[in-house]
Amino acid sequence: MSPSIVALAIISTIVAIGSLVGFVARFHHKMDLEQWTVGGRGFGLVLVWLLMAGEIYTTFTFLGASGWAYSRGGPVLYILGYLPLMYVVSFYILPPIWEAGRRHRLQTQADFFHMRYGSPFLAGCVAFVGVACLIPYLQMQITGLGLIVEVASYGGIPRTPAMIIAFALVGAFVFVSGVRGVAWASIVKDLLLLFAAVFIGIAVPRIYYGGIGPMFAALAHARPGHLTMPGATKDLGHAWYISSVMLTSLGCYMWPQFFAASFTARSGKILRRNAVLMPLYGITMPLMFIVGFSAVLVLPGLSNGDLSLMTIVRKSFPAWFLGIVGGAGALTAMVAAAIQLLTGATLCVKNLCRPMLAPDMGDAQVAKFSKMMVLVLTSGALLFAIYSSSSFVSLLLVGYAGIAQIFPGVVLGLFSKRVTTAGVLAGLVTGIFVAVFLMLTGRDPYRGLNAGFVALCLNFAVTGVVSLLTPVRIAGFGETPPSLAAPQSGNGGDLT
């Protein structure tokens, strides 16, 4: 058998096992909207851990981190910087978000805004920002799957057909499994990813340099400057590092899928314990950097840094091992894409389409249309993936610049009585406008700072000033006048 057939067969087997686990896990649960989106709010420590890890350790971890270590060098450290810090932020904001979610039966991030600020329009804007920012994130997963299949087939399957196959797989997976299935499929993926990361992170430098220490010594000697900031770039220095770490650690839990994942927990305590423990799971991330750094001298001149991990694995190990690594990567991308699609589709239907088109749509219909919306969103991301070629880290940073603009509305909504609907809306619009303007006009980084961070600062300033100038209508959760309350499922939550 040719090596490409061996590798592809192993990848397919792993993907099939992961999907099967996801499919079986949902079997004993009735799939209504509450179960499909927030798993019946009954997840304990382990399932919440798996779900959050499943979403946070994505294709980006696997291919993007090594890719940037290869092509940019030092600036890749910003990933290690924000990783523990985003959990620090989650420690303070997720438990109150969870509490609001349970009291008011919230299912999406936009529900949160609707309930807190009493404005379906603001909720619609938040949903729109969330879905728009998910597209580059989804694009990253689909491109990642495509890259894996391309490298594993030794070039036999070109990238575009590979991405179309990936698209079909992800769509089918999310259709059948729901959030509980995704959490269980994460187990398979996490075990494989852990194994693959530890093994190649140790073996690759050993094969070419005799160990991790000699690898870094050789690299520091051959490319002085690659290992510190700004590395191989001109403008990603310390100011960029600080602003990017701040932007990503504050913005991370603003991703609608991470935000909604907190609703799956059984208690706020579980989320706190998770926040304490999660940074330890990040220990696999440096291993990905090591693979990327090793590739600098072994495979100089790759056109696309994101290929470095798969290419060096293909060069160093037999085909079956390439298959295992590719399978772990493929499953990772599928799990991450599935949860993004699930959240994006529910947001779209529940908080954008329903209020605008059919206010009397029932929950059962929302669930049905959400499944259709999954197809629409995947197709969108597929088109972007085919027609654009940004590196994974760049894609992620674009998404972050947008999604982090939701942060002021969330954190002030939780802890301030003075913030107003008009203030949050004005801040959000300013933030998005500034971020889009700076990025489209090639001003990222802006004066050495991450453009998204500049936008976030202005967003906070505008939110504060406008809030002080406008009267407070709703001073906190549970103080929404019933006439403005969101049309909730079930009893609508107790508003007392």
């Binding site: 450290l77 523990p84 991790i212 802890f415």
Partner: protein
């Protein structure tokens, strides 16, 4: 919503100070520690030290957190 206590916030600021604001102090290759460049080693060390800080914050926050049960007792 109840705001977190000052002590818990200060504990959370420690990792921010150590891995974010102080970057120019530790972004160096030498001295290499355990074969790793110093900046790399420093950030990996904080993957382990951050949970320690947050465990402290957890001990401070959990006794005062209103976690589920109390409010669920409404109908009783």
């Amino acid at each position: 919503m109840k705001r977190p206590s000052l002590g818990a916030i200060l504990l959370g600021l420690i990792p921010f100070a150590a891995t974010c604001f102080s970057v120019s102090l530790w972004d160096r290759v030498d001295p290499m520690v355990l074969g790793l460049p110093f900046n790399f080693f420093w950030l990996i060390a904080w993957l382990v030290l951050t949970p320690l800080c947050m465990w402290g914050a957890y001990r401070l926050e959990v006794p005062r957190a209103s976690d589920g049960r109390r409010e669920e007792g409404g109908p009783q």
